[in-house]
Amino acid sequence: MLHQLHRLAAGCVLFAAALLLSACGADMAPVTTDFKTTNLARDWRGEVVYQLMVDRFADGQRDNNKGVVVGDLGRYQGGDWQGVIDNVDYLTKLGVTSVWISPVVRNVESDAGYDGYHGYWTQDFLDVNPHFGDIAKLREMVRVLHDNGILVILDVVTNHVGQVFYYDINRNGRPDDSVQGTGTTSPILRTGEYDPDFDLRGVQAVTGLGASGNAPARWIDMPELNRGAPRPAQFANFDWYWKRGRVTVWGREAEACRIAGINPDANWQDCYNFVRTQEVTGDFPGGLKDLRTDLPEVRQALIDVMTYWITAADIDGFRIDTVKHVEHDFWIQFATAIRAHAKQVGKENFFMFGEVFDGADWLLGSYTQPAMLDSVFYFSQKFQVYDAVFKYGAPTSQIEKLWTERKANYGTVGNPDGVLSRDGQPIAPQQLLVNFLDNHDTPRFLFEQPDVKRLHLAVSLQFTQNGMPCIYYGTEQEFSGGNDPANREPLWLSNFGAFDTTNRTFTHYAKMARLRKALPELLYGEQAIHWSTERTGGEQDAGIFAFERRYQGNRVMVVLNTHPTKESETSADSLGYGSMTTTMRPGTVLRDLMPGADPAARFEVTAEGCETVACTAVVPDDYNGGACGCLRLAVPSLGARVLVPVERAEPLTSFPEAL
């Protein structure tokens, strides 16, 4: 009856209004209500990912700039989803095909003077962060990106929530910044109730008389900071949290083991387990409360809230935060459920990669085993290759060592229900690693190594090796910020001008992206190392690293010289090693397609200079036999060559000029 009354009255008034509205020609189209997910299944090996911190990318809507403090990088800066919509051209000019966006969920506004602009302080798993826009704006952004051929990867956090509760250590019913610690389980004598040190028993309450059992957890009541019990309501359950306090072992693992009575030298396994227990069950530093992801009901609730966003916002993949802080078996259950849901809503190639912030290659790979994640951030490569070799001049043999270990450490079999190749085959995780030089948790490349030529060389490898290159926003503008938050500069404050697309580094990225797109070998090809060296001094091959990419019978040879001052060769005659081998036959003439290369230069594969064998007419892509030919050439200091047979290069008529 009430509805009928309203319908009748509304009908009369709104009919008249609609008539007048149409007469006035006002643009008042309502928000679409028939939102549907799309299926943009692509072979993820072909993607160029751009990590986009929404708050720092572009400010497109002034209304949501609440609490913005321009220039204070620990606070909101004003970027939003409208800003992404307004600057899609910038992304397409750069050659980006996928964007990884900051978490979209509503966050705790502020803690200790810092804001939740990054999105990792979840307060409500199902609501949007109003600083970025509303759900309609999120959908609009995804639609606009999709319309421009760009996939959307959403950053999600399953390990913890924001700073939503405190430990009432002194049982006075209010959160205290500092209370007396025991001094027995930790060298810290005073600790705060927001983020106290780890205690395996659970954070302990303390009075003047000593320990008094587990400290009660209490929800913080600060609605002005959106700091209170998490939502949806089932997460407002203290049984769902470990309540053991913050991880304290990082950077002092051996010392922590000794304090705990474990000799790390004599019993490293126990020490490792001790550290891992903290990592998995401790609060993430900053007061981020650790969820009990071992509990079935917590797992299901996390699956439910994460699947919501696939449907609600038409997301194409997840970048998953703090993966190593969650039990391994969680990822089997989580990934399986996510894949099933994605398929159910028509998304066939939903992609999941995780952040395992660790240099231990085997640990990274452990999350890519069957039924787990599709990929991880290749942190070990970031540390051992892009930092050690490209920034600090370590030998290129380090690259070969790491890449060789990959075969043992990472998943070799793709998931049939997971991401598929362009010909419908599951893609093995070790072909899908996400290659990055820097990100929001590490100093920018140019902070530690301000030589732009080295950056360009690193980018050249990033875009020619297998896996997916991931650009951290702003590196293309030569940002050089140090550790968080200095490495999170507003993109619009580039020294080259806002959203400049003409500077040398932007154009290098763009050209490498186009080169990559033009050569399927670089996207889908097998990868075989043909030269690496221990030498970094004045030797003939110092700094050289070369590898071949092979796909459907075609070959691309990539040669890089990481030496900072000297031209080097793909040969070490003086040391008795001869020249570099190749699976291309003698007589093959190569052209260098590297942006900026001399278009007239030619390089010929010879039968001399190395030990060759008689190769078959069609050399398999995964050929691992003797050399078919030899290739001796020089590469300038901090230079690179991308060599393809001239007959392969000719159809690419736009190269290199168009690049």
Binding site: L5, C12, V13, A16, C24, D27, Q61, R62, D134, A136
Partner: protein, 463 residues
């Protein structure tokens, strides 16, 4: 024992003959112009209501639009004090001051305080050597015709400090214009900050200082159509604001650009049909800063450079009345389309809304009237509700029974005493505009029980 409606209505009816009649349809010339007074004149507009929600709580105004029906309004009082001088050799002058009080009554909340504003403080001179010419200087409410049921002046309603002139007389062509200034005391127009004193402590300095210059022009032409009286009104405003620098709470400074805005509108009015018939139709289009109102500060919907240049407001409104014997009907309605200055088409600032209200009454005996009111209000925004992340179209349907004692006949006879029972029906959207903890969220049906009084005489608001 609480008095019931049944016991109160006869009681009020007994009081009716003692009250004085004062009936003025809002489109007719003001009484003061018909016979110019001299000396002191006191006038007033006021309303006071005691109300309950019928469930132990206070009576509340439930609204989803900017101009809802006025029945549930809070108490408000204007005291008009004017002094009139007529010197044949020098012309006529009047000094007008209007003190306004808007707050809960002291006897209601025990707070010996109130919100007080001086809404008129001007001197007007007439017949200063030129017939039908008058000029004024001071602080003044400049208003045309209103929609009584909505307490709303849909075409022209300026609060300004400045000066103006008018040529014409009641019942003749009249052209009036004014130029005024205002400066809202917030960082949008005025801001003081502290800087270090050269020796010790701090000194205040004015960082932001920009005034809004407002000009208005109004032309009114009486017309006679088919034996009916009427008028046509053309109206326009120009608002101008210079640029300035503001500092936010985080000490970040930004340039606020200069603004300009305009309003254009027309009104057609006719009266004299039936026994007490009148009708007014208003059309109005405002752009830029003029679309926000002269004392408003934009807080959302700004363009990226902080301007509101692309803001538009388009409004259609009407008020009408009709009487026949003991029966009267008055009505009011408006629809307003608003679009903000940012480039986002799907946000809460891009919207349209409207209200329609009807109040029929029947004079039973003497000054006792039985009135009813039926209204509907709705708001449609292009944005999602931030509370629900869904698309809401809040609307409220209201029906009221209003036993009334008036000092005269007709719908505008005042003073007036009235009992009010009103039921409001909120749709889902109207309910969901309130947080879950809000008592107004408790359901679709809301009640309002009130007893109130309203009056005006010699008033600048209702002349």
């Amino acid at each position: 024992m609480k008095p019931s409606l049944a016991t109160l209505i006869p009681l009020l009816a007994l009081l009716a003959p003692r009250l004085q009649a004062e009936e003025l349809p809002p489109t007719e010339p003001a009484a003061e112009e018909a016979s110019a007074p001299t000396g002191f004149v006191f006038g007033s507009y006021g309303r006071v209501t005691a109300s309950s929600d019928g469930a132990g709580g206070s009576g509340k105004q439930l609204a989803v639009v900017a101009h809802p029906p006025r029945l549930e309004e809070q108490p408000y009082l204007e005291l008009d004090l004017s002094y009139h001088v007529a010197e044949p050799e020098f012309g006529r002058f009047r000094v007008v001051t209007t003190l306004a009080v808007s707050d809960a009554m002291f006897h209601s909340d025990g707070d010996f305080d109130g919100k007080i504003a001086l809404r008129n403080a001007f001197v007007e001179g007439s017949d200063l050597g030129v017939a039908d010419l008058s000029v004024w200087v001071g602080s003044r409410m400049l208003r045309g015709d209103d929609i009584y049921l909505l307490d709303f002046w849909p075409l022209d309603n300026l609060n300004t400090v400045g000066a103006g002139a008018s040529w014409g007389a009641a019942g003749k062509t009249r052209i009036s214009g004014h130029l005024g200034l205002n400066q809202v005391k917030n960082a949008y127009q005025y801001q003081e900050i502290l800087v270090a004193d050269p020796e010790f402590g701090t000194d205040p300095v004015i960082l932001m200082d920009r005034v809004r210059l407002i000009g208005s022009l109004r032309a009114e032409q009486p017309v006679e159509v088919g034996g009916l009286s009427g008028k046509l009104v053309g109206y326009g405003e120009v608002h101008r604001l210079g640029e300035g620098v503001a500092e936010d709470v985080e000490k970040v400074r930004q340039l606020m650009p200069s603004e300009i805005g305009t309003t254009l509108g027309v009104e057609a009015a006719v009266w004299g049909f039936g026994e007490r018939g009148f009708a007014n139709l208003f059309l109005r289009q405002a752009t830029g800063i003029a679309a926000l109102g002269e004392l408003a500060t934009p807080t959302s919907g700004l363009a990226q450079d902080g301007s509101v240049t692309d803001t538009t407001s388009t409004r259609v409104a009407m008020s009408a009345g009709f009487g026949a014997g003991r029966f009267d009907l008055i009505a009011g309605a408006y629809v307003d389309w608003f679009s903000d200055a940012d480039t986002v088409n799907y946000d809460g600032d891009d919207s349209y809304e409207g209200t329609i209200s009807l109040r029929p009454s029947y004079r039973v005996a003497g000054g006792y009237k039985q009135a009813f009111e039926l209204s509907y209000q709705g708001h449609r925004s292009n944005g999602l509700s931030p509370r629900t992340d869904t698309f809401l179209v809040p609307a409220i349907l209201k029906a009221a029974v209003i036993p009334t004692l008036s000092a005269g006949t007709g719908p505008f006879a005042r003073p007036e005493l009235r009992l009010i029972y009103e039921v409001s029906v909120l749709n889902d959207g109207a309910q969901e505009q309130y947080p879950a903890e809000d008592v107004r969220r408790r359901g679709a049906i809301h009640h309002y029980l009130g007893i109130g009084a309203e009056w005006w005489f010699n008033s600048s608001t209702y002349p």
